[in-house]
Structures are given as C-alpha cells and as structure tokens.
C-alpha cells in the first residue's frame, strides 16, 4: 500500500520521467518503493516514522485533553480503553494527551537539532575536503575540539547562560552533531574531488564555489541524508536524556524525556508514568533507524543505474 503511494507521488512529482529532486536522481523514490516491497524492516520503519509524524502534526486533533489540565484523578493506571487509556500522572494529567504532544516537541527538537548540525557541519566538511591543506587542518582541528565536548556539557553551559528553554537542547545536541556531519561530508568530498568530473569542471573554467555546490555536494548527498535520519534518532534519545536530567526543556513542557523524568519518583507506585513514554521513545528510535537503513539501501546502488 505504502509503496504504491510512494510510486504515485514520485511519478506525480517528476511527470513520469527522471528528473532532479534536491539534486538527487528521483528514481531514488522508485528504488525506495521497490525496497519497501520486499523488505519487512523497511516497511515497519516507514510505518513507525509515518505514524509518529502524523501524530506529531495532528497532535491537537488527536489528543483527547489539554496536556496541561490537571482535572483528573491522580495516578490512574492505564486501562487502554475508556477516558484515560494510558492513565494519568501524579498531577492528574492525561498521559495519552501528554505523550501525543510530547511527540510534537521531541520530533521538533530532534529534527531541528540535526538541521543545526547539518547546516554547520556539511559546509565545514565541504570546505575542508575540497580545499585541503591548511583550511582542512584548521577546520578539522576545530571539529576535533568540538568532539571533545559531550552534548551534556554544552547543555549544562547553555542552561547556565540562557536558562531552560526548548532552544537549549536544540543547540546543545546540534552542536554535538556538527563533527559527525563535517567528518562524513569531508570523507565523501575527498573521494569525489578525485573524480575526473571535478577536474573537468575546473577545466571548463567553473569557479571553486560552483564546483563545490554544483558538482560535489549533490554527489555527497546520499550518506549525509542517511546520517540525518540516524542522527535524528540519536537526537531524540539525547533530548530525553537531557530532559530526564533536568537540563533540557522546562519541567512542565511535555517532551518524552520530561515525561520520563516526572515518573521517576513514582516508579514503584505508578510504573506507567515512566515506562510508557520510555517504550514510545524506544519504538520511535527503532523505527527511524530502520527507515535510515532502508534509505541507505536505496542509495547504495547510486552508480549502477542502467549499466
């Protein structure tokens, strides 16, 4: 079902013929749908990602109650049916509503953090790999330095300076991801730089900037995109860690991590307050990773197209 949908979408987008989509040959979508057809893991991964994304997007419609309202009986166990299917927390808030809104924030934090890391890391890797020499040395030593700082430390620093807000985990996690993207991009650029088409671009008089963004970057997109998905899963986990430790978002903001934290004190009386958000984090991260694997498979045959 899903694969047929993707096929239709890809044909709609490209008018049936092969064209570019963000610099990627669009038959990627077809190849992806072919992988979906035979690969169970890919199906599961895509389904999880799709469901979680839909929940996040339509949170106000799906959630039965306001996630902040405390008008219900305290610590009601999950019944899976009725008024509070996932029970209520220690303040009498509906856990399902909080988890649904939490999907929104957790995904938003994850995706923005990775976007932050990509926007800085990819250009860094591109410059370092293409220019080489001292530019490479300078940028990569900077990356090495960043590598030495765990997200946790940066988050503590950011909280100290800025106070608790949703921007703190985005910045802290994104900063810690810069080095991954810089390294992956650089490695890819180093091999693409040796391809004759880069020399050919130089020989027809293209400028360095144009060569980097027109010739090299589109050919390096595949591993970056795969890294993007995998990093999103990691970012969601890290956000949960930060929130659990109380250095992420404000304690009242319902992200999955902060839900976990709220249940910590009541784990013996009311296991569901922590366990349910924990399970949901686990399933989501698993789904994104499976999705990333399928994406990697779709990209893997990049050159083998027709021949």
């Amino acid at each position: 079902m899903i694969s047929r949908l993707i096929n239709t979408v890809s044909r709609r987008l490209t008018g049936g013929s092969e064209t570019h989509l963000f610099g990627i040959r669009s038959n990627l979508l077809e190849r992806f749908s072919r992988i979906l057809k035979r690969d169970r893991k890919a199906q599961v991964g895509l389904s999880i990602v799709a469901v979680v994304s839909l929940i996040a997007i339509f949170a106000p419609v799906i959630a039965p109650y306001d996630p902040m309202s405390q008008n219900f009986p305290v610590m009601q166990p999950p019944t899976f049916t009725g008024a509070h299917p996932l029970g209520t927390d220690s303040f009498g808030r509906d856990l399902l509503s909080r988890v649904v809104f939490g999907a929104r924030l957790s995904l938003a934090v994850g995706l923005s953090a990775v976007a932050f890391g990509t926007l800085i890391g990819v250009p860094m890797g591109l410059y370092a790999g293409y220019y080489g020499g001292w530019v490479d040395d300078l940028l990569m030593r900077m990356v090495d330095t960043m590598w030495a700082f765990p997200a946790l430390l940066i988050a503590i620093l950011a909280v100290a300076i800025h106070g608790q807000s949703i921007w703190v985990p985005i910045f802290a996690i994104g900063f810690a991801l810069i080095d991954d993207f810089a390294r992956i991009t650089r490695g890819e650029v180093l091999s693409i730089r040796e391809e004759e088409y880069t020399l050919a671009a130089e020989s027809i008089g293209m400028g360095k900037f144009k060569i980097m963004f027109e010739e090299i970057l589109p050919n390096a997109v595949a591993p970056i995109l795969v890294q993007y998905t995998v990093s999103t899963a990691r970012a969601i986990l890290t956000e949960a860690t930060l929130s659990f430790l109380g250095i992420g978002v404000k304690i009242t903001t319902p992200t999955w991590g902060s839900l976990l934290r709220q249940g910590r004190g009541f784990i013996q009386q009311a296991w569901w307050i922590s366990i349910i958000p924990g399970l949901i984090i686990m399933i989501t991260v698993l789904g994104i990773n499976l999705f990333g694997d399928a994406l990697r498979d779709a990209f893997d045959v990049k050159e083998s197209g027709g021949t």
């Binding site: 013929s17 990627i24 004759e196 050919a200 130089e202 008089g205 197209g305 027709g306």
Partner: protein, 353 residues
Amino acid sequence: MSQKAKSVDSPLLTAENIKKHFPVETGIISRFLGDEEFVRAVDGVDIELREGETVGVVGESGCGKTTLGRTVARLYEPSDGSIHFDDQEITDVSGDRLKKLRKNIQVIFQDPMSSLNPRKTVGEIVAKPLEIHDLASGDEKRERVIELFEEVGLQESHLDRYPHEFSGGQRQRVGIARALAVEPKLIIADEPVSALDVSVQAQIINLMKRLQAEYGISYLFIAHDLSVVKHISDRVAVMYLGKIAEKGSTEEIFENPQHPYTRALMNSIPRVDKKRSRRDILLEGTPPSPSNPPEGCPFHSRCPEFIGDECVDREPELEQVSGDSGSEDSSHVVACHWQEKSVEERQEQDPFN
C-alpha cells in the same frame, strides 16, 4: 595532419623544463624538520606543439604522462618550469586570465564514466561551458548543444539522459562535445580511448581526426598504446619516470627508434610476421618509484642494453640523434649513452643490424 598548420613557425604551446612534484603525506614533525619526500611525477620535460599538430606522449602507467597533460592544462600548478601558450606566458596566470585560458585549452579525460557528473544530464554537461564563458543562452544554447551533439555523432534525443544510460564510447563522445563547446585551440586528450573497446577506439580516433581537420585543433595525445599514437600523431615523445627518453617525428620514432626503452615499447606491440632479434627483449618488472628514482640514467635498472658504469653514474642528456644512425630528422632527440658511442661499437652490440 593539416599541411597549412605545419608551415606556421611559432609554436602554439611551448613548455620548458616542466616539473611537477607531489609531496608525500608525511607527519607534521618530519615536515617541520624538512624531511619532506616528493614524488617526482614530471621531472623536467620540454614539449612543444604547433598549431593543428598532434603530439603523442607515450609511456608506461606511472611515467607521469597524465600529470604532464594536467600541468600543461593548468589543472595542476607546475613546481618548476614555464609554459607559453599562444605567445603568452601562462605558467602562473590566475583569475580571469586563467578562465580565458580555459576557453582555449580543453581536456578530454581517460575514464568516460568518471569524467561525467552522474547527477547531471549530458545536455547540462555539454551546455555548462557555454554558460560559464557566456557563449550562448536560452534557445541559442540549446541549439548549440544539439549542434555539438550532432558533430560528435550523438542525437538530440540523448540530451536529457544521464551518463549512466550511455555506453563507454557514447560517453566519451559527450566528453569530446564538452571539450569542443568552447572551440579550443588545444585539446589535451588524456588516454581518451584506453578505456574503450577496440572497435570503438577506432571510431573515436577517427572522430578526433575529423574534428581536427575541421576546426584546426591541436592535440596533446597521451596514451600508453603505441599503435593508437602512431595513427594520430605527427610527433611522438616517449616518457620514462617523469622524463623524456626520446622525441621525434612519428615516422622517425617508429622506423628508427634509438632509445632501448622505445624499442622495448615497440616490441610490446604484438605482431604476426616477425623474425626475432636479440633486441627483442621484453621489459620485465615495473618502473622504479618516482619518489626515489635510480641514480644516473633513470632506465638503467631495467635496460636490456645496459653499458656499464656510465649508465649508473651519469644521467644522459637529450641529444640530437647523429646522422650515423640513419636519422634525417633534426628534431629527433634521445637521452641515452649509446649515442656517444661510435657506429662500430653500436653495431657490435646489435649483430642483427
């Protein structure tokens, strides 16, 4: 090829004492201590090319012929030496002047798979030089690309396809169309046919010959296959370990090879009807490392006509081949100590002569 071109006196391209040394990646400490090692890919090569002429450069892989081509095309910075093109010094031009130069010198690459960006249609690839040099835009650009396609034997319907949809020969045609787009005076053809099937090789060579006659282009034709070079070149330079071993007109090189290395290369062309002579020794082994070339004559370690100490102690200079060897071409030069020997000594060395 064309008679008119050969009468022009001043050469289109003169490269003197070209050197290109690549630093071997060493640690920061040895770099600091001045312990840097270099690969001497090209080590003092003179080459010149007249308008409409084809000069072939041959040698085993790793002899520096590709590096020479790329250095002359200014894709690599020369470590030493000077390059003149069209009465201008181009050794270290940059910026706008380099861009202008790019319009006059184009390169055809060896691997037709790797030389075309897999993410672009071949139409975009051929149109790119037109955009970069503001030669055409819009409909005019499209028409020009179609014209170029037809010129190299491709069709308009190929325009929107991707490189992977073509065969090797067709891809090389795209590469030629791209080089031709800016109507260059010189094309550096870096083993343009060695990745292709033999039947396709002939087609590409004929195409290149036709284009040369039509546009008066000069070629620096790099190859490891002597029979291909013989077909297209007016003059031939034989390279070994970053240096020129022998240089002369194609006829001279093939009829009257003087350097033992050239003779060994000739012998590597398979032939059916041939009596064997003592000189028919095929080369063994691989060339020594260009980061640590042998003392004296670079070829002495593999030379089948090794003389003795002089080959090890002293590096032979390129010298004009004397009339004794039956040479009538004054531009035929060779770097070998045998040239200093008398005719008798040389004949003694080759009883079949």
